[in-house]
Structure formats: structure tokens, C-alpha cells
């Protein structure tokens, strides 16, 4: 009886095998190799290497550029998560209304997320060019007589330019997730609230937001993980400059490892970063999931 149940269960587990094999080959093994390399002086050229203990980990904490990259990544992630969530919820409510052109409106907002971030970065680098012939600067100059602004050349202004482009590109996608959850909310809640005298804002605050909590959990988790490993958009817009002021963790891992052939140091940073991402993701997921239950 018990054996039969196990066999029945096993036939379903077989379907997981291809996914487990792929996950092992493309994620688990590279991850383990990364950990091994972080304790070696591997240079990416010779196939031989020596174990050096924790030397690479100490080097990470001494490296100012790596610390700067970590700050930039956390700064970018914090603002992108915050702004996209703040914008996408009301936008989803607006786009969920039964308007005649709602499909077109949704398509317009969704479109930027279809294009690759690298391509968007190059297009926006022309728009935000600090030269007076740059698209945005020439508009600002001709309309308001403003001198050219270095959107991608100043340390802080470049950081906010990157965040602005990321928010522009990704808000539509996360709005669609919110719309999907909004459509699952039973309309009778709103009818009952309206009969009880609740205003539109009260309905939004006490019905929409709590019932959208699962969507916010999913969006925040995706934005957080994508934000922490961001590379393409900041690189295409600024190449990490000026100096190291806009380097991200992924960029410095690639640069130290592949360009500078310091695989040991770069994999040590990668290992530390994986741990950090795991801790942040677990805290975020646990906290927000609890909100869902409460709601």
C-alpha cells in the first residue's frame, strides 16, 4: 500500500527531473565553483591555481571601489523598488477602469519593458547627452534657455538619471502584475463599502491596498532581486563613470574577474553578495507575506 503510494508519487517527481538537471548544471555547479575560486588565486588564464585561504575576502573589504559599488547598487535598488511600487499601484487602478482605449493605454505603458535594458540605455544616453545638442538639453535650452545639464556626467545626477530610466522602463510591467491582481478582487466589496458611505479614497486604502498585498510581495521581490544584480542599464548610460561613481556590484565583479584577471577577489565579492541578497530577499518575503495573511 505504502510502496504503491510512493511509486505513484515518484511518477510525478520524474517530471521535475529536467528542471532539476538544468538548475544543477546552470546554477548550482557554477555557484559551487564560484565558492571554490573565491579561496584561490585563479587568474582565468592558467588552468592551475593555489588555495589562499580567506585572503580574497579580506581584499574585498579593503577595496574602496567595491564598497562604492555596493552602495550604488543598494541606492539604486531602494529607489527603484520604492518608486515603481508607488507609481504602479495608482497607475494600475487607473488602467483597470473600463475605458474604451484601455488596451491601447496598457500596451503603451507595457512597451518599454519589452525592449532590452542595454538598448534602452544606449537610446537614453543620446536623449540625456550632456552636450547642448543632446535631445533633452536642446529642448530645455530652446524652451527655457537652460544651459546644458550633465545628466550622465555628474555623480549624483547620473545616479538619479539611471533610476529615472529604470522606473520609466519597468513601471509598465509591474503595473500589469497589479492589474492582474486587481481584477481578482471581488467587486461586491466596493459595492458594500459604497453603500456604507466609504469614499473612493477609503475604498482604495481599505480594500484595494490590502487585497493587492500579494501583488506587492511579488513585485517587490522581483524588483529587489533584479535591482541588486543590475548591470546593463547603468553600464549603457554611464559606463560606471565618472570614475567609479556609478559602478554596480555586478560590473565590478565582471571587471575585477574577467578584465583584470582577479577571479579570486571577484568571486569572493560574488559569494558575499549572494549571501547579502539571500538575507534581504528572505527578510522582505517573510515580512510582506505576513502582511498578506493579516490582510
Amino acid at each position: 500500500m505504502k510502496k504503491g503510494r510512493i511509486l505513484r508519487q515518484m511518477q510525478y517527481e520524474v517530471f521535475l527531473l529536467p528542471a532539476i538537471l538544468a538548475f544543477t548544471a546552470f546554477t548550482v555547479i557554477p555557484l559551487l565553483k564560484t565558492l571554490v575560486y573565491s579561496f584561490t588565486d585563479f587568474d582565468g588564464v592558467l588552468h592551475t591555481y593555489n588555495f589562499v585561504g580567506l585572503r580574497n575576502y579580506f581584499a574585498v573589504f579593503r577595496d574602496d571601489v567595491m564598497k562604492q559599488a555596493l552602495f550604488n547598487t543598494l541606492f539604486y535598488t531602494f529607489f527603484v523598488v520604492l518608486l515603481i511600487n508607488v507609481i504602479s499601484v495608482p497607475l494600475a487602478v487607473c488602467l483597470d477602469k473600463n475605458q474604451r482605449v484601455k488596451t491601447l493605454e496598457r500596451a503603451i505603458f507595457f512597451f518599454p519593458s519589452v525592449v532590452s535594458a542595454l538598448l534602452l540605455g544606449y537610446i537614453w544616453s543620446y536623449i540625456l547627452s550632456p552636450l547642448k545638442t543632446g535631445a533633452l538639453n536642446s529642448i530645455l535650452g530652446s524652451l527655457f534657455g537652460i544651459k546644458p545639464i550633465g545628466f550622465t556626467s555628474g555623480g549624483w545626477i547620473a545616479k538619479f538619471s539611471i533610476i529615472a530610466v529604470a522606473v520609466w522602463a519597468n513601471t509598465g510591467w509591474h503595473t500589469m502584475v497589479n492589474i492582474a491582481y486587481l481584477q481578482a478582487i471581488d467587486p461586491t466589496y466596493y459595492e458594500a463599502a459604497a453603500i456604507d458611505g466609504a469614499t473612493r479614497f477609503d475604498q482604495f486604502r481599505f480594500i484595494t491596498i490590502p487585497l493587492l498585498a500579494p501583488a506587492l510581495t511579488v513585485n517587490t521581490l522581483l524588483l529587489l532581486t533584479n535591482g541588486l544584480k543590475v548591470y546593463d542599464l547603468p553600464y549603457a548610460l554611464t559606463k560606471g563613470g565618472p570614475g567609479y561613481s556609478n559602478y554596480t556590484v555586478t560590473q565590478i565583479i565582471i571587471q575585477r574577474g574577467i578584465s583584470e584577471r582577479q577571479y579570486g577577489v571577484s568571486t569572493a565579492l560574488a559569494a558575499i553578495f549572494i549571501l547579502l541578497v539571500m538575507i534581504i530577499a528572505v527578510i522582505q518575503y517573510t515580512t510582506m507575506s505576513k502582511r498578506e495573511v493579516d490582510a
Binding site: G44, L131, T133, G154, G241, Y244, I258, S259
Partner: protein, 407 residues
């Protein structure tokens, strides 16, 4: 009559086919894979010329933009054993290619022994058919100079500052620098003019621990800062690409830019009427240019099709191959067998580079080239935006060398 005509026609066809067979070589066949940092459009004359000579060979061409993207891609391909038959050796990856034993030994080939490839090139790029050079310097708009009453090229730093001021007073943007390129910028040739001209072994001494980068590089960084402080260079230019710089010059938005000979074709395309010339960057006493021997093709030590790969290198160093490369990449050639007719804009620059009045840092940074190059570039950008002092930027090179040497 018809028979005679038919006979003449048959003879003509036979002669044509024979002539074609003499030029083309059908003995080699298969696919030749190439990874280059020249894009396919730029390399077209070379690839087409090779394919015309070897009609049975198919070329699988891959492009990765220089420098970091190319170096990263090639490193990964080589380490994983998936590199193409032919790839290009650059200053930035020559040490890794040599240490890793990734290039086939070409020292026994005739072109390496008969003087076609000069000895100086062989020591800089071992087992590589580097045959062409590029020159770079200050591209200046002669019409704008004339409109401002500037009749002579500046020969000293003070004269150069005067020229910049004159241009600015007349309402022109005097200068744009390319802050994304370690080979073509103000600081590198100024290091040549200020430091190397007095001590040609300075960099060797640094690597031997007998000198510090900060002693030789602070002055060039200070001169860059002087251009910013006087308003001739704008800090915002760290956000623009090398392509933007060339477009600004070709459309006459700026009087002078720092650029290289490979951009002459782009300038021709945008504004064929532009009246310009290339001059050196004047230091306090000496004038230096940018320039170096260009990247060259090598054969993968584990090439899948080594005979075809070697045939490609042989074609590259042949007179027709040299001509094709000159047509594709510009500059001038250092190999025997072809003497190009230089563009008038770069004649003086080529003569100066041939006389040794040029500097590119990566040619002397034999070890840890990429680490130093990236640090050098970050220093230029930070000095421009005022995020660090010239001395701090120069000292970072010492710190980086100490860091990577300790690894």
C-alpha cells in the same frame, strides 16, 4: 566564320578561367572563424580580399567592441576552449595570451624571418601579424583657426592655452576630449612630453620598484585640470562617447578634438568638405602624439582549421592584404611590401610617430595592463569632474600596481 568565332569565344573563356585560377587558391576549404574588435563593415575589404583568394573558404566573423568587451569575450572563449581560429592580440591582452600559451608559434613562418614583420613589432606582439599603425592627436578645424586669426600650430603648452583662449573669445567651443579612451586623450601624450622625453625608462623603473607613477603622472593630470579650470574643457564631457566627440568635430561644433586616424573615414562620411589636420599635443617643451602599432591577428594554438588560419595571416602580410588592411583601418603600415599613400591630414602625424614622438600607456604597462588602464581612465574622469586631485589620480596608479602585484 561561325567556327572561327566559336573558337575565339572558347579560347577567351579558357583564358579567363585560367587567369582566375591563378589568382584564386582552391586547395584550402572549410570554415575560418575570426573574432575581431573591428566591426564587419570596417573589415569588409580584408575579408572580401581573403575570400577572393580562397573561394572555397567560408568566414565566420564575430565582432566584439574594443577594449574591455573584446578582452572579456576572448578571455572567456579561450579559457573554455571555444575560441575561434583567428583572434586579435591587443596591448591589453598580450600578456594573458602569451602566458596562457593561446597563440600558435609563428616564428618559423617566412614573413616572421624575412623582415616583413619588423623586429620591434615581434617583441611587442609575439606570434602576431600586427602590420598597421594608427596615429592620433589634436584634430583641428583649419577654417575655424583661420577665422580666428590663428595661423600656426601651437608648439608649446603656453601657445596652446593662447589658442584655446582665442577660440573661446571668438565664440567657439575650443576642445573636446574623449574620456572613455585610455589610448586617445590629453594625459597620455602629455606624459610623453613631460616625463618620457626626459626619462625614457621611467615606466620600467616603476615596474622595477625604483620610481613611483605619482612622480611622472601628476604633471600631465595637472595640465588636464588646468584646461578644465580655464574653461576650455567641460566636466560634462565625461558623459559623452568617442563617437559623439567625432560627430561634434565633423559638424563643426568644436574646433579641436583628440582622436585617432581610424576616425578619418567617419569624418569623411559626415562632412567630406571639412578642412582639418592632425597636430601633436604640445607640452611645455616637447610635442607628442598618440599612436601605436595596431592590434594584429594571431592563430589559436588549438585552431580547428589551422591551415586556413595560417593562410589568413599569410594573406594579411601579403602586399594585397596590407593594402586591404590600409583601406579598412587607415593609419599606416609598418610591414614591408606595401607603401600607402597617406592622407594629407595625417602626413605630419605619421612622420612624428615614426620618429618616436608618441605615447600610449598600455605599450609600457606590460603587466596588469587592464587594471592600470581602467584606473588611469577613472583618474582622468575624476580629475575632470573634480572628484580627486591630479596627485591623487596619479597615486591611484601606484596603489593599483601594489594591489594587483600582491594578488
Amino acid at each position: 566564320m561561325k567556327k572561327i568565332l566559336a573558337l575565339l569565344l572558347a579560347m577567351t573563356v579558357l583564358l579567363t578561367v585560367s587567369a582566375g585560377a591563378l589568382a584564386a587558391d582552391s586547395s584550402l576549404s572549410g570554415t575560418l572563424s575570426i573574432l575581431s574588435w573591428y566591426n564587419e563593415t570596417l573589415s569588409a575589404p580584408v575579408i572580401e580580399g581573403f575570400k577572393a583568394k580562397y573561394p572555397n573558404v567560408t568566414v565566420d566573423y564575430t565582432y566584439a567592441p574594443p577594449v574591455a568587451d573584446y578582452v572579456e569575450k576572448l578571455s572567456t572563449l579561450l579559457y573554455t576552449g571555444t575560441a575561434p581560429d583567428v583572434f586579435y592580440m591587443a596591448l591589453e591582452n598580450r600578456e594573458a595570451l602569451t602566458v596562457g600559451g593561446y597563440c600558435m608559434d609563428l616564428s618559423g613562418e617566412s614573413y616572421m624571418q624575412d623582415g616583413t614583420i619588423p623586429d620591434a613589432v615581434k617583441s611587442m606582439y609575439p606570434n602576431c601579424a600586427a602590420v598597421d599603425c594608427w596615429v592620433g592627436g589634436l584634430f583641428y578645424n583649419k577654417d575655424i583657426f583661420a577665422a580666428c586669426g590663428i595661423t600656426e600650430e601651437p608648439k608649446t603648452w603656453d601657445e596652446f592655452l593662447t589658442v584655446c583662449q582665442t577660440l573661446q573669445d571668438n565664440g567657439y567651443v575650443p576642445l573636446l576630449d574623449n574620456c572613455q579612451d585610455a589610448a586617445v586623450n590629453f594625459v597620455a601624450p602629455l606624459f610623453g612630453a613631460e616625463t618620457l622625453s626626459k626619462d625614457p625608462d621611467f615606466t620600467a623603473k616603476v615596474f622595477a620598484g625604483e620610481a613611483k607613477f605619482v612622480d611622472g603622472w601628476t604633471k600631465p593630470y595637472e595640465m588636464l585640470k588646468e584646461l578644465v579650470d580655464k574653461g576650455y574643457l567641460n566636466a560634462d564631457m565625461v558623459g559623452i562617447s568617442g563617437d559623439d566627440v567625432v560627430v561634434q568635430f565633423a559638424t563643426e561644433q568644436v574646433a579641436m578634438i583628440i582622436s585617432g586616424s581610424w576616425n578619418c573615414g567617419t569624418i569623411d562620411q559626415i562632412n567630406p568638405e571639412l578642412n582639418y589636420e592632425v597636430m601633436g599635443i604640445p607640452g611645455t617643451e616637447h610635442v607628442y602624439y598618440c599612436g601605436c602599432i595596431n592590434v594584429g591577428p594571431c592563430v589559436n594554438a588549438n585552431a580547428k582549421n589551422p591551415e586556413v588560419a595560417k593562410a589568413f595571416i599569410e594573406y594579411c602580410v601579403s602586399p594585397e592584404g596590407l593594402e586591404a588592411q590600409y583601406g579598412a583601418y587607415g593609419g599606416f603600415t609598418v610591414a614591408k611590401g606595401f607603401t600607402p599613400e597617406l592622407r594629407k591630414e595625417v602626413v605630419d602625424a605619421v612622420a612624428a610617430v615614426q620618429a618616436g614622438e608618441f605615447h600610449i600607456p598600455m605599450s609600457e604597462w606590460i603587466s596588469y595592463t587592464e587594471s592600470l588602464r581602467l584606473t588611469f581612465l577613472a583618474g582622468i574622469q575624476d580629475v575632470l569632474v573634480g572628484a580627486c586631485t591630479p596627485q591623487e589620480a596619479a597615486a591611484r596608479l601606484d596603489a593599483k600596481l601594489a594591489e594587483v602585484s600582491a594578488q
